[in-house]
């Protein structure tokens, strides 16, 4: 069976690399941001918990960008992806 999901390059922030066995980026096949995070969670147990809250939304102070465009105002299910897109997961500038 041919996997038709687009190939996506995901960049992780330094704070999350300990949950990704030290990786700073991962390539996955996914049609939405929700699928991207689902793949990350399946490959790296605990990583999904760090990104999504109990309701499957991006945590309050976690931002996501697709090709440098912010998408955090959308639900991960709403963020559609295309072949070759780059996803960046970043902590928001918050706290003290």
């Amino acid at each position: 069976m041919v996997n038709e999901s687009p190939r996506i390059h995901v960049t992780l922030p330094s704070a999350l690399r300990e949950y990704a066995r030290g990786r700073d980026s991962v390539d996955v096949s996914a049609a939405t941001l929700a699928e991207v995070i689902g793949h990350l969670a399946a490959e790296f147990p605990g990583l999904g918990y760090r990104i999504l809250d109990d309701q499957g939304r991006l945590r309050r102070f976690v931002n996501a960008y697709v090709n440098d465009e912010p998408v955090s105002h959308l639900t991960p299910q709403e963020v559609r992806l295309r072949e070759g897109d780059s996803v960046h997961i970043l902590p928001s500038v918050a706290g003290g």
Partner: protein, 371 residues
């Protein structure tokens, strides 16, 4: 650094920026380890009272969520589950912080969260199950949040009776179970409300701050509330004021403060750390004082020897005072300006144990190898 040995005293300080572990053979000289989890808030951490070896830390990252980490080598290494406690999808709720952690009486572990929730683990915090009868208690949508958010911050198990437990939520009030969490009932009668001369009903919402059981008779519970200090014994139908000798918050003519601890051995002995008031959460007059009752709350005596009597413009938060299990007992008090004051004589005199820490969120104590 020498590894702690059986019988050593352990003081654990969770702070706004990491966790510190102090150990001592004689409670005179101390070794400090940490900070662990640098940058993250540790609102609560405990030394497992049964093995006297496992430290559990409630680590909240404002970015990446909250987990319970554990160490069996006093912080040298840590482990945690892949996930922290979580609400169900149907609830619409999401855990943002862990406020409280307590060992149950059956080797289990409980945490209290924000938004208010109670969760139980039977595998040292690897996985969690929701205590649904409380977390989805009828009317929770009307629970008012306290100044720190809608948080479950107090868990009070009942020694040798695992089916009984009290919990406190700011500011939904006090809830009790006698069937291992299958059902819960409100327990707020007798507490002042915010109207002049008003008193709460059993089902009122109140701003409980901390509760502690009497060490000799665990059926007696002492409470520091937003409005007053109280005690209630099992079978009684209301809380009773126990405030003689305590400084009063003039706004409500009631003592205001956060911690309430009991002495480890002496029945009727408890400690509070009153503040000027809810509108000015500092030591009254800038002079630090801890108050102790030795008669079950009939009266309170002021303890100041060795505590700063000027410029003490800080708060002692609800979990920032604890007693160890030694005899005489050690009492430890942490401040929001980063000091820990320690007493080796039941609170009669105090010395500075640590300074320049980040804001102290909690102080817990224990003995290596268990009490």
């Amino acid at each position: 650094m020498a590894r702690p040995r059986k019988g050593d005293t352990v003081v654990i300080a969770g702070t706004r920026k990491g966790l510190f572990v102090l150990t001592s053979k004689d409670r005179r000289t101390w070794q400090s380890r940490g900070p662990f989890f640098a940058g993250d808030t540790v609102r609560h951490a405990i030394l497992d009272p049964q093995d006297g070896k496992t430290i559990y830390a409630a680590v909240t990252s404002e970015h990446w969520g909250a987990v319970v980490a554990r160490s069996t080598d006093f912080g040298a290494t840590w482990k945690h589950g892949d996930e922290g406690p979580r609400f169900s999808k149907e609830s619409g709720l999401s855990v943002t912080r862990i406020w409280q952690m307590q060992a149950g009486v059956e080797g289990d572990l409980y945490v209290g969260t924000e938004p208010a929730g109670l969760f139980r683990s039977t595998d040292q915090g690897e996985t969690w199950s929701s205590v649904d009868a409380l977390n989805y208690f009828p009317g929770r949508d009307k629970w008012p949040a306290g100044g720190g958010g809608l948080c479950l911050h107090t868990i009070v198990p009942y020694p040798r009776e695992p089916k009984r437990m009290l919990i406190g939520i700011s500011s939904a009030g006090i809830f009790g179970t006698s069937d291992a969490g299958a059902s819960w009932r409100n327990m707020d009668a007798g507490i002042r409300d915010f109207t002049p001369g008003g008193t709460c009903k059993e089902t009122s919402t109140t701003c409980v701050h901390k509760m502690a059981r009497d060490p000799k008779n665990p059926a007696i519970v002492y409470q520091q509330n937003h409005i007053g200090v109280y005690r209630r014994a099992r079978g009684e139908d209301a809380w009773t004021r126990i405030e003689k000798g305590l400084p009063m918050n003039p706004a409500y003519d009631a003592p205001f403060g956060f911690p309430m601890i009991a002495h480890p051995h002496d029945g009727g002995t408890a400690y509070v750390a009153p503040l000027a008031g809810d509108g000015n959460r500092v030591m009254p007059g800038g002079k630090m004082a801890i108050y102790r009752t030795t008669n079950g709350g009939k009266s309170w005596a002021k303890l100041t020897k060795g505590l700063p009597q000027r410029d003490a413009w800080f708060t002692v938060l609800r979990d920032a005072m604890r007693a160890d299990t030694n005899d005489p007992a050690g009492i430890y008090t942490g401040t929001t300006t980063g000091q820990i004051y320690a007493s080796r004589d039941d609170g009669n005199s105090w010395k500075l144990l640590a300074d320049h820490l980040p804001q102290v969120q909690c102080v817990e104590t224990g003995v290596v190898g268990g009490a």
